[in-house]
Symmetry: C2
DNA sequence: CGCACCGATGTTAACGCTAACAGTCTGCAG
DNA sequence: CTGCAGACTGTTAGCGTTAACATCGGTGCG
């Protein structure tokens, strides 16, 4: 017993409770709690004494006890479906970080497809989840969103904006970003610019395409239909699209791919065809994933603040859930974060 | 009040407590607890009744209360330093998953360098962390490990094995993996095989190199010093190494890079030099990160079960911490997980 | 037939913290 | 002086769960 206590005292910070600190500082536990939580109504001298005691004893508050007492802990689900790993890791970092801050437990679920997404959502609801975060393409699934609405589960989408009452969202202005990128290409002097689309079921695809078209229209350039080719955000689909574009007799001088994976595929295809980038062909992407800086030349792209987006997502979700708990109606909130145009080495004036 | 209660009853699963279930099932809370926790000593009929009640009321246990009562919650830190994002996301997924299971709170900290790592470790210790998980290159820093030993903080390394009392580890057999890869190249008929090293301060580098050398030695082949070149695991360092190797008059027919990033760089360099892969040059990597399947051709590599590794890491760490809490001495535990040789499209017999 | 014992369930008392309320002690207006 | 606001601190009572012990019918056996 003595031995155990010794070990405990030696290393087991976990056993230092608020009561120990209170005793050491000669105050009540409540006062310690106030100090720890930054309550202003504590005399400076008292506060110092308490802080001193905390320091000496190496006290750190017990999260579980606090959650229990304040009834604050939330449980939210994060659903993702086959994103690029850099998107995923950035998102996870943001989520983890924010979750710790606002005492939220996150359940991360990978969904192979829409079907799987529906199943997961149902499971989570049954398990009593407080809210759900959806990333594309699940965020674009009306089916999933309807299910969430019907079960009155709070929900927020990342990367896609849905103008619907029951869903909040965090995203960037895809339209403006695509437009800025296209303007950049135009400024460089390109006139024959191709676009590789993303999956048709994702809103981002349409928005980016619209931005692309708008920029060209503003410059008085007609977009040849043949220069807008299908893609599905995957590297493989990018290879196919690039081959199609590069085998044209009058091939484009610039290719704007709807994401970095497809841009990277375009670069690879160009290399295989002995086409120099950026000398003979300009390629640019979207997302600023790791891939963009990994291949050679590095890809000019649009940076999305993914980590911030997921942090914001948790915040918004928390707000909705607390509103609901307090008996208020959660309000819809669409946050648009700033993107950043990142110029690298894959663009140049046309040959 | 009534309104609030109604809302509560309507949606607030959180408010259904074990007592409600107990009441509904006509038993005591303790019995419900036993059912929920799978205690065998409950009569089948009772169990059914309780499960029925749980179902009806949509009860789900309150994590915080459970943690508090069982004093089980652990807090561990995960330190990483500039890994590839696929490594990171795989690791995070494993950690998140396992952490939820064993009621552990994870603090993820990025460390820019060794200096930063030391600082973070100190902070975490001061904050009362129970244990720490280190990934390379921090896992190879004697300085950091010494600090942890001195503060008696439990620690485990991922990806690198340290044969030291106070640190457990999860890793794969780098030596055997490199040897298997090299044997594969030898079987294909390669005799002039180059090796691109990783950072010299990481154990994995040496182990892989040793495996490489052993395979060649076993085949009775001398390794020309010029064919073993420096690298630092980064794409950029890979470019440099590859240029050196490919500009040789008698260039190697196969290049084994110490990780996928450098293998990808080698592929890119080869393409720039109009060298066909795998027709004229075989390239293989290590790690099986996303990059390996993203570029063309896809890289033959060694797959590390990173998600499983991080799950195991949490398990081991938990074991050490619980041992300590129970007054026992935590035992060192080095787990070696199975790697997998993954053949893709970047290797072929020599021309 | 009684006693030890076992399996199923209930009771009690924490776990560590904080909300809500209850003082206590100033200083200062009346 | 009295009293009363206001600044500070203490007390009480949970939050929802489980560990540890208590209880209570049986079962089997000497």
């Amino acid at each position: 017993m003595v031995t155990k206590r010794q070990i405990t005292a030696r290393k087991q910070h976990a056993r230092v409770t608020i009561a120990d600190v209170a005793h050491a500082a000669g105050v009540s536990p409540m006062t310690v709690s106030r100090v720890v939580n930054g309550d202003a109504r504590v005399r400076a001298t008292t506060r110092d004494a308490v802080n001193q005691a905390i320091e000496t004893l190496g006290y750190s508050p017990n999260k579980a006890a606090r959650s229990l007492a304040t009834a604050s802990q939330l449980q939210i689900g994060l659903l993702y479906d086959n994103p690029s790993s850099s998107f995923l890791s950035a998102m996870l970092l943001g989520v983890l970080d924010q979750a710790r801050r606002c005492d939220t437990q996150v359940v991360v679920v990978e969904c192979a497809d829409r079907e799987d997404g529906m199943r997961s959502v149902r499971n989570l609801i049954a398990a009593g989840i407080d809210g759900i975060i959806l990333s594309p393409p699940l965020a674009d699934s009306t089916e999933v969103l309807d299910l969430l609405r019907d079960s009155r589960t709070q929900c927020i989408t990342i990367g896609t904006r849905r103008d619907e009452e029951h869903v909040s969202s965090v995203s960037i202005d895809n339209y403006a970003a695509a437009r800025e990128m296209t303007d950049h290409l135009l400024t460089l002097g390109h006139r024959r610019i191709a676009f590789i689309k993303g999956s048709p079921d994702q809103l981002a695809t349409e928005e980016r395409l619209a931005g692309f078209r708008a920029a060209l229209a503003a410059a008085g350039i007609d977009v040849a239909d043949e220069l807008v080719v299908d893609g599905r955000f995957s590297y493989r689909s990018g290879l196919k699209a690039a081959e199609k574009l590069l085998s044209m007799t009058d091939r484009p001088t610039a290719i704007f791919a709807c994401n970095d994976d497809m841009a990277a595929a375009t670069v690879a295809t160009a290399h295989r065809n002995r086409i120099d980038i950026p000398g003979e062909l300009t390629v640019c992407g979207f997302d600023d994933t790791l891939l963009a800086t990994t291949i050679w030349p590095e890809i000019t792209t649009i940076h999305q603040p993914i980590t911030t987006m997921s942090q914001t997502a948790i915040d918004l979700l928390e707000k909705r859930i607390r509103a609901l708990r307090d008996g208020r109606d959660p309000e819809q909130d669409d946050v648009t974060l700033e993107f950043r145009f990142v110029r690298r080495g894959s663009d140049a004036p046309p040959p």
